[in-house]
């Protein structure tokens, strides 16, 4: 038995992280994940106006800023309601928020696919590629965030979600343009990513049909399968989703067993040697993100993959790309049914709660994102942000290893482990907010 320690700097993950691997007899048996600089957004928010969070919190993260905006507005709205101020969003406002959020998720997943997974996988399996994957990432993310900006004004760093609704007042002219951009995105997804019709893709239920998928996604699945990567990267096989969304209900899934969740049981704690805080639910660690949403939603193809491969790298990677298809369809439906004649914001300007505590939850690209705000005299006295990466990348507890760490354990090389690490779509900046 020989213990060997190795350090690896991981870059291009929305910042950087350092992994310290411990090999035992040629296999990884522990990993320490260290993130960089603590920026202190929660402290910066203290003593600011409650609504300033709508401007400050998106600046936690350049790639999932919109999710932070929606979480922060939901936290204030929850607080208002609990303080007795009625907040009833119009279905128009709800749908526009879901739409812009979906656009951000698509942007994120597609960048992960083309900027991280495909190039890293080709490198890992030793296949030389001259292909400019980045131009594909840039094209789709530019197209879909333009649709987002029609409603939100800009991406990144919009603050268009206001207490009681949205600040925009869209017309048919706006909706038609957004629809056209969604159609363009669907066309790209069909022709470049999956090489098949979207509806036919979404109807795929079983792993026996996976060979129908072509395009870059088909190629990715082929590479994973032919390099013995379908079974590695397994973790605790526990999944949790805190916010309802067009993707899934809110629940947890242990294996395939579904049960209710309550955000009150989420516990955050400091960890040694890193500025990232760990988080657990009733003393157990759960995975969050696309795979969890697919499992909780019982999406047939995810269940089928899980039945064969459990929560392996294959299932995890598939679930994230798969969400792009589901979200594009959802985007199309949301715009088709948008009730333009409803009000955008239902809360009058002078209606305000001055003392409240509220929780806002949103399904961000990497999983459940939780904001908690405590306000006295209109000013924030405490603000807490729990990011998805804190769930997936914590060091773990005495009883069990963190989700990503467990997935890396057993890997035979640093290269294998870091590829597994990247399948979690690691976001350094969100972890060190």
């Amino acid at each position: 038995m020989k213990k060997v320690e190795m350090k690896q700097l991981i870059e291009k993950i929305e910042g950087e992280a350092e992994l310290d691997f411990t090999f035992n007899d040629g296999e990884i048996d522990d990993v320490k994940i260290n993130f960089g600089f603590y920026r202190g957004i929660e402290e910066i928010l203290r003593e600011k106006d409650a609504r300033d969070a709508l401007v400050i919190t998106p600046r936690v993260c350049g790639i999932c800023n919109h999710a932070h905006l929606i979480a922060s507005v939901r936290a204030i709205e929850d607080g208002y309601k609990r303080a007795g101020v009625e907040v009833n969003l119009s279905s128009k406002a709800k749908d526009i928020r879901e739409f812009t959020l979906a656009c951000e998720l698509i942007q994120n997943h597609i960048k992960w696919l083309y900027l991280t997974i495909l190039p890293q996988l080709k490198r890992y399996v030793g296949e030389r590629s001259e292909e400019n994957y980045a131009i594909k990432a840039s094209y789709l993310s530019t197209t879909i965030t333009k649709a987002l900006a029609i409603f939100a004004g800009q991406w990144p760093h919009s603050s268009y979600a206001v207490v009681g609704g949205v600040s925009c007042d869209p017309t048919h002219l706006d909706v038609i343009q957004a629809q056209s951009l969604v159609e363009e995105s669907i066309r790209f997804f069909e022709q470049v990513v999956i090489g098949m019709d979207l509806e036919e893709y979404l109807a795929i239920k079983s792993i026996t049909q996976l060979s129908e998928i072509e395009g870059d996604f088909g190629n990715l699945l082929y590479l994973l399968g032919s390099n013995d990567m379908a079974t590695i990267g397994k973790s605790h096989d526990r999944f949790i989703v805190f916010a309802e969304s067009p993707l899934s209900v809110s629940a947890k899934s242990i294996g395939t067993q579904l049960s209710k969740v309550d955000v009150r049981y989420v516990k955050e704690s400091m960890q040694e040697n890193t500025v990232a805080k760990a988080v657990e639910y009733k003393k157990r660690l759960y995975e969050v993100g696309s795979l969890s949403r697919g499992m909780v939603a019982k999406r047939p193809i995810i269940k089928s993959l899980h039945k064969r491969y459990k929560d392996s790298l294959m299932t995890r990677v598939f679930a994230r790309v798969d969400e792009v298809g589901v979200l594009l369809k959802s985007c199309k439906n949301l715009l088709q049914n948008l009730a333009l004649d409803e009000p955008s914001c239902t809360l009058p300007l002078n209606k305000m709660a001055l003392h409240f505590e509220g929780v806002g939850i949103v399904e961000a690209s990497r999983g459940s994102l939780i904001h908690k705000t405590k306000v006295k005299n209109g000013k924030i006295v405490n603000y807490e942000i729990i990011t998805p990466t804190q769930w997936n990348l914590s060091h773990g507890t005495k009883e069990e290893q963190g989700v990503a760490i467990k997935a890396m354990v057993g890997a035979k090389s640093v290269e294998e482990a870091t590829f597994v690490f990247r399948t979690f779509d690691v976001c350094s900046v969100c972890t060190t907010q």
Partner: protein, 295 residues
């Protein structure tokens, strides 16, 4: 002739400028003018480890994120020392975003220690003098991708970028965000918004809009080539300004109803005289919905 070597380094940041730039529709045509030495997200010639070791070439240095002299390490090395190493060698330095330029949001964590690269809010840092001759500031939280491409292409075209006293290109920051706002008529006639979510009304009087005194091209060069904050009814938060972010961002500070801060360069008496005059008229068109349906 070899292409200029482009190095993009990050300090204390959210990556917002990186992702904003990735949204540039002509991203790869622009990058084709350069040799990409290192970039936070895109595939590039050298690894971050090699960058840290100080051995990579650099002609154009892009800096993102606010700056701290000590205490921010990457792979065991002070980020400030890596940045200064390349800043000395670069022919051009572009600070992208309000954090890198003035300190920005992250400065508020430790105001005495954290600043922009060459400016601390509006004050010049100790480092300013050494780099002033090759420094271009692009404040904004985040920057617009076309602001950066303008500067990069001016550099590769061998043209001089005219700058103001804070080193901002005048062609980008000579405007105010107010210029080109679709709500301008409501500003002229002092008609404020009745609520969020309406295309009618001005956000300057009550909702905290800082567009009349914020320098930037947001309503000239539209965001994501399609819109802007004020066009979707969100106030401008002054994110290109050295003082960003202020507090009470959704409220206009007023003294007995009079805005505490005047539009850029407008004397208070001129503004108040005009206000008294315009408020004396009730213009029917401005009290109605802009678009009438079912008529």
């Amino acid at each position: 002739m070899s292409k200029p070597k482009l190095l993009w380094l990050q300090s204390i940041t959210c990556n917002g400028n990186t992702h904003s730039f990735l949204n540039h529709p002509e991203l790869f045509s622009i990058l084709a003018h350069f040799e990409l030495i290192h970039h936070p997200v895109l595939e590039s010639d050298y690894s971050f480890q090699e960058v840290i070791e100080g051995s990579v070439p650099c002609d154009v240095l892009i800096l993102e994120g606010s700056f701290v002299q000590e205490g921010f390490l990457k792979a065991g090395v002070e980020v400030s020392s890596v940045i200064e190493h390349y800043a000395k060698r670069a022919k051009d330095i572009i600070t992208v975003g309000t954090c890198a330029t003035f300190g920005g949001i992250f400065k508020q964590k430790e105001p005495d220690k954290i600043s922009g690269f060459a400016f601390d809010i509006e004050e010049k840092t100790a480092r300013y003098k050494e780099y002033a001759s090759k420094l271009i500031s692009l404040p904004g939280c985040p920057i617009h991708p076309r602001w950066l491409s303008f500067v990069l292409l001016m550099i590769t075209n061998g043209k001089k970028v005219e700058i103001d006293e804070l080193h901002r290109p005048v062609e980008l920051y000579g405007y105010t965000v107010h210029m080109g706002c679709t709500r301008n008529e409501y500003f002229e006639w002092k008609v404020d918004v009745k609520n969020f979510g309406l295309k009618e009304g001005c956000l300057f009087y009550e909702q905290g809009c800082q567009a009349p005194y914020t320098r930037g091209s947001c309503n000239k060069i539209l965001w994501n080539d399609t819109s802007s904050k004020t066009r979707v009814g969100t106030p401008c938060f002054g994110c290109t300004e050295p003082s960003f972010p202020k507090t009470s961002l959704f409220t206009t500070k007023t003294n007995m109803g009079i805005p505490a801060k005047m539009p850029l360069g407008v004397p208070r008496r001129a503004y108040l005289t005009l206000t008294g005059v315009t408020k004396s008229f009730k213009i029917k068109r401005f009290s109605e919905r802009l678009l009438e349906y079912d008529k």
